[in-house]
Symmetry: C2
């Protein structure tokens, strides 16, 4: 596994960057939705494409060589901003905002629109899997070993609720259970075995590894 990246920045700097990138990514999310749903004529599509390409060129004038990585500050604040489930810089992410309820329980409420559709009007089963894998992994603070998903019924697009609880621990293996639900109850349940990497604790500013 590649190393996690340490950035020697203050919490004020983290807040400043959050305030800078969040509106940009939200703009890209809106564009992504509009790209799926637009019914404008070909000339307008091409004109919109030119504006998008101009924006991309501006953003690419200075950029990191590879992917974003997962960055940490000195106080351990994580910045998994490129993550496709929770990343504030990744327009694939709804983003899911995960709330901690104690050490071993995580919950989230997410609204899933047109970009997450599989069968007509329904959430793609693989999107349910993406969000459940992520929240179970956060509850475990570990990497996925095995994940079993049971689709009880289809999940309509719209507001969904996710939960994950660590239910057992044995050495570096954690068993986690979770679910996705809508206002009528559970739509998908998940159970996973998660594995804590051998070196999980950051050992110094230049030598940090972690689970996700």
């Amino acid at each position: 596994m590649r190393q996690f990246v340490f950035e020697d920045i203050t919490s004020e700097e983290v807040a400043r960057r959050t305030g800078l990138y969040t509106p940009l990514t939200n703009s890209v999310r809106e564009l992504l939705d509009a790209t799926i749903r637009t019914e404008v004529d070909p000339d307008t599509i091409r004109a919109a494409g030119e504006l998008i390409d101009r924006a991309t060129a501006m953003l690419r004038s200075t950029q990191s060589d590879g992917p974003h990585g997962v960055r940490y500050t000195a106080d351990g604040t994580g910045m998994p901003w490129g993550n496709p489930a929770i990343g504030i810089r990744n327009a694939i992410a709804p983003p899911m905002v995960v709330t901690h309820e104690g050490d071993h329980r995580r919950v989230a409420d997410v609204v899933l629109g047109a970009a997450y559709e599989g069968p007509p009007g329904l959430v793609h089963g693989g999107i349910c899997a993406l969000l459940l894998d992520h929240i179970l992994g956060e509850a475990a603070s570990a990497m996925t070993g095995t994940l079993t998903l049971r689709y009880q019924r289809a999940t309509p697009l719209g507001a969904v609720h996710l939960e994950a609880d660590v239910v057992a621990t044995a050495g570096r293996k954690l068993t986690v259970r979770g679910s996705m639900s809508d206002s009528d109850g559970i739509t998908v349940t998940a159970e996973g075995i998660f594995i804590v990497p051998r070196r999980v604790a950051p050992t110094g500013p230049d030598d940090r590894e972690g689970p996700r």
Copy 2:
């Protein structure tokens, strides 16, 4: 389940629309990657955001009320263009291009970049789940009932290969096995039980339902 939508258009019209939407969505994919990786100054970020918002407003001047849905032509050509795994109008999708090898086998080759990163330099486990759920579901032409994923080792970002085979059928239940691999071999295996909806065959131009 909502009904699938019939569109009375020719294969030439399908090709024309594919040629119109593909470059637009590719532009949004590039923008999404640039949004994650950019290191430009705040003024440039805000200027790029304004261009993006202008493009979105142009595209939204005429748009469908809800999600894209899954549309079919008279000859049965599917247009799942809003799909987050394979949709040519959805920038979340790499897109995965699924090849049929007989009735019950599907394969795909996909390159996964910065937008699909979980742990540093590695594909998010939930993205593996999304793509595997989708390709297994295509092999079955059915909805996911249960899906079990076994992560053998981490999947590095880059080129991956996916396979799915129907290995057993019992009534409306199909058992499908699949895998994701990189150049060194399998990284994730998947096994699923998929359920064929009771009404799967289109029964007429205005009354079509289907699995995905």
